[in-house]
């Protein structure tokens, strides 16, 4: 399933990804100290591992939408918009 339903357990990571996408200061903060930023944001161990995996298949199977995945894969770690 390339374009799955956003599973409820992913809500916090969806919000995190949205913040990465829409808030340049937050994105820069994440890029300079990803672990600290995710902990401050309140992501659980499991959620942080999903983000850090940068693995689109894993993220999709976990229930993230492609846009949250893209915001994490391409904007959090690669410093440019979609």
């Amino acid at each position: 399933m390339l374009y799955g339903y956003p599973e409820p357990r992913t809500l916090r990571v969806h919000k995190f990804a949205h913040e990465i996408h829409s808030n340049l200061d937050f994105r820069k903060k994440f890029q300079s100290s990803p672990d600290e930023t995710m902990i401050e944001y309140g992501l659980t161990d499991e959620e942080r591992e999903v983000v850090k995996s940068r693995d689109s298949v894993r993220m999709a199977k976990w229930g993230l939408t492609p846009y949250a995945i893209a915001y994490i894969e391409r904007e959090a770690y690669m410093s440019h918009k979609l």
Partner: protein, 273 residues
Amino acid sequence: MAEIVGAFTFSHAPQILTEPDFGPEYKNQLKKIHEGLMEVGNRISKASPDVVLLLGSDHLESFFLQNYPQLLIFAGDEISGTYSGYTLKLKGHADFARDLLFNLVGSGFDLSFSQEMSLDHPYISPMAWVTKTTPDSLRFIPFHINSNVAPKVNPSRCLELGRAIRRFLDGYNKVERVVILGTGGLSHFPGTPRYGTVDGEADRAVMDIVAEGRCTKLADFSDEWLDDRGEFEIRTWMTVAGAVGNVPGEILAYQKTWHCGMCVASYDVQHAN
């Protein structure tokens, strides 16, 4: 009776606006898309519409998971949004939007509406170019058709929505001239392992249908086919097809970039009215 005096569909990839440096070939590809979009603006200007219906699809930007609409019409007086440092401001047409909203709800389409929302890249990216060649006085009604977040609007429902819009226009006499635009497509796979591939064969199938004047056939593609081929965003094209019917189309530009098949299409609406 309000007449459809222009109909166009085109891609809305963010890169159309952000113009990342992916080399000279890519730059040239974007230039051709920009020229196509500005030609759309020229044609809109010549058509001199009272209002422009602007069909797009949110990507979890304008809307989020606290309340995600399948169909939503903007019914306010003005709207704006900023993407990648570029701000687009559009005049709305609240009276027309309200009348269309009531009509569509009355005919079975349970639209949401907004009088305050922010535009994002599905509108800003292409319209930054289209509006370079349109007058500032032009009035727009953004209209969200969920093409990106599962479950998406059923293709046949997109077509029927266009037909319902057409029936409304046929019986409406408060404006005379309407242009309808659809943004999205063609093949691309954002946020998936297939990002960076483009299904050129599927793009050709879509463009052939448009060029051959069979655009209502776009709604025959299944949800699964659209996802598998990266063509899920042509739902807005289906709604345009429902509004104009099977009129001849013209591909003003097509570029198969490394990440997205980008296309600009025009419809011969002389045959639509």
